[in-house]
Symmetry: C2
Subunit: 436 residues, 2 copies
């Protein structure tokens, strides 16, 4: 009968069997320790008998073992207990030395990220690496729970499309039985159409961008968290996003003390309602503080994004901030212009720890207006077959609606405080990397 490592604290003094991977060994002659890893943690074991020690000869890290021994309380041991008098059963011997060290922190220096990714399959067995994806698992569960609690229906929309969603060069195309298909860059149109069906929908699924640059921020495939809601205002959307980010951060910090310590992660400071500053306000504050003149610019500079996040942390007690009042001239065709001021779009960007993690916006739901915007802003046509399904949703009755999309990997990165979004991706893809 196998006991999980996390169940051990309740079994001090008993004889137990644990199974897992040889994670570390220190065979010092006098005192011989090995550490075993299972899905729930690691336990240290003292190997005393000569014939048991003999079984470990030539066995490399990764060897799959069962250990049967007496559990002894020991404050110095990780988990507060240690196995003594063990009998070892080698289940799957490993006789080759692993290509990458897994029994110590990897440290993630940017100069060795490529090596780490080349050996990802083995490198992920490191506890520090695993921590990232345990946190990511919790983030995903929390977001889904939050969506469900707020009456969203989960949807699965196609990634194989006849035409590119938002145009542009960054789209993968492929042969589809003699026709051309593209890979979805986002579920934008589908989630809007589905507001006409379920009012509130979400999807967490891969999207694809033929992103030709290798940066710390971009990948060709990532997991997009998309939400869309009907019968709301921009303020409702801000409240929803505030609640969503707070829930994710709270749950991660409640569930993953051990994992977060491995990265010296600090809990993001957040207010219940994330504060909002208009783009012009930010430009003015930044220009005044730094002497760099950005007033009148139609976007935030990367430096400005970092600066305003630092400012919000210090002065507003929030490491997240909404940027409002984006110029209408820069908007996407499906965005909505503000009813009172046609110069601005009903859009907010959510900045978190120095970068934008999502754009939320109201969508133009009036058929005539969205057709006009499609023509003027995207060079599209009302009778374009690629826009027909989307336009028909508007034609046959849509309420005011809005939504957002954000990358799961970027949120994970920022919550933990990692340098590169690829560190928060199991098997990242970019222009140079299609394996493992």
């Amino acid at each position: 009968m196998r006991t999980l490592v996390r169940e051990l604290p309740s079994q001090i003094g008993e004889t137990v069997t644990v199974s897992g991977w040889l994670h570390k060994k220190r065979l010092l002659g006098g005192l011989n320790f090995i550490t075993l890893r299972d899905r729930s943690g690691v336990v240290q074991s003292l190997v005393e008998a000569k014939d048991e020690l003999e079984k470990l000869r030539g066995m490399q890290i990764g060897t799959v073992l069962s250990l049967t021994g007496t559990l002894v309380a020991d404050e110095r041991a990780p988990g507060g207990a240690e196995l003594h008098d063990v009998k070892i059963e080698v289940i799957s011997p490993v006789t080759n030395e692993p290509p990458i060290e897994i029994d110590k922190p990897l440290g993630h220096k940017s100069e060795n990220l490529d090596t780490l990714l080349d050996h990802r399959v083995i490198g992920l067995r490191n506890l520090q690496e695993q921590a990232i994806f345990k946190v990511q698992d919790t983030i995903t569960q929390t977001l889904r729970r939050y969506f469900s609690e707020h009456d969203f229906t989960e949807i699965h929309t196609p990634k194989l499309l006849a035409e590119a969603t938002e145009g542009g060069a960054e789209v993968f195309t492929m042969d589809y039985f003699g026709k051309t298909a593209t890979l979805a860059q986002s579920p934008q149109f589908y989630k809007q159409m589905m507001v006409g069906v379920f009012e509130r929908v979400f999807e967490i699924a891969p999207v694809y961008r033929a992103e030709p640059s290798a940066t710390t921020r971009h990948m060709t495939e990532y997991t997009s968290i998309d939400g869309e809601m009907g019968f709301i205002t921009l303020n409702d959307l801000k409240l929803f996003l505030s609640g969503l980010l707070n829930a994710a951060v709270d749950d991660v910090w409640e569930a993953h003390e051990t994992e977060l310590k491995r990265w010296n992660a600090t809990k993001p400071m957040l207010t219940e309602e994330i504060p909002t500053l208009s783009m012009e306000e930010i430009h003015e504050m930044y220009s005044k503080a730094t002497g760099e003149k950005t007033v009148g610019e139609k976007d935030l500079r990367p430096d400005e994004e970092r600066w305003i996040c630092e400012y919000a942390k210090k002065s507003l007690k929030s490491e997240a901030v909404f940027v409002s009042e984006w110029p209408a001239s820069e908007m996407k065709f499906y965005h909505k212009v503000n009813d009172e001021n046609s110069e601005i779009a009903d859009r907010v960007d959510l900045l978190f720890r120095g970068v934008e993690i999502t754009t939320g916006s109201m969508r133009e739901h009036n058929y005539e207006k969205v057709v006009e915007q499609l023509k003027r802003l995207a060079g599209g046509r009302e009778d374009d077959p690629g826009f027909q399904p989307f336009l028909s949703a508007m034609k046959y009755g849509m309420p005011a609606h809005g939504g957002f999309g954000m990358g799961l990997e970027r949120v994970t990165q920022k919550i933990i405080g990692l340098n590169n979004v690829k560190e928060a991706t199991l098997f990242p893809r970019d222009i140079n990397r299609l394996a493992p």
Copy 2:
């Protein structure tokens, strides 16, 4: 202040405002009724005042409305209550007649499925259509909860691959910055690799098959539910799948009485442990019962699958049955041969209501053996770059492990009792269909 339709039963006698879509109208002159749909249901409303009635002139189904009126108990009305003395606010007028009827059951005859799918965006607003995807939402939530309760970690693996996962012709290929990429047919290798990291992993994500035939069972894109577990036996896998299917069925029937009635769905009869019959047993029983000789055949015929499911329903009180003892000669290279009988593979197929919904199998985790099987059964090579990551997982320590993959759409189809898997897919894709 908006009230949701599902909240109405507690507000009889009060003045309430509901918002949603005009779902049905019966303007009979004397008695004028309209039905409004929001995300939580439909409510009937009596329109009495002439000037209110006037607002509905020319308004088609789909028009977005707010109705303010007095809620009156009425047993004949759906939901047991009706709005009287309503004031109407037209939020988004619809002046064109919708291309498809949405205010009555669509009926889903196979001869009109293509029409339904052509007008999917509007057709999904039908309550019977919506029912399918509310059920699917619950299935997905239940499966994820079941995985999490059993200590699985959710993973997100890449769908852009350098090489085809399982070879064969049914793979989409595309240009990837001058190289060739393929779309994942399954996360098979990745989930096995991840057993070395988290022991138990699952993923619910799209997969792609360049399936050249248009059938009721095949699509080019579907949502695959994949699970993989280490330190288990084939029997553990059967127990897990039994629990998973029971949980999904129970939760769907608990949550969706109304939705299931729309399809006259009957709750599948299931035993706590799904019964197992060997392929040879089934061949013998079928041959004896029908006179068709299948004994010795290496697969089940479709008729045989239906027959054994009928048999299991009648004689074993289960509409699901495991088929065991598959011939080793037919297995995939990563499957495991039975330790005691090298003629059979450690594999079970789960049949449910006449069709296979998943194949579960143990995997060969011994490096030398899996390399031998790769060469013999798949014509692969140990130094093939496409197999390197997978093989390295085995080389550096893997326990006995097994898993399964099943299509969310097929499970949804079978639970409700639909004829075609595309009915259980929001926007299905096949050789002939890439839109909407």
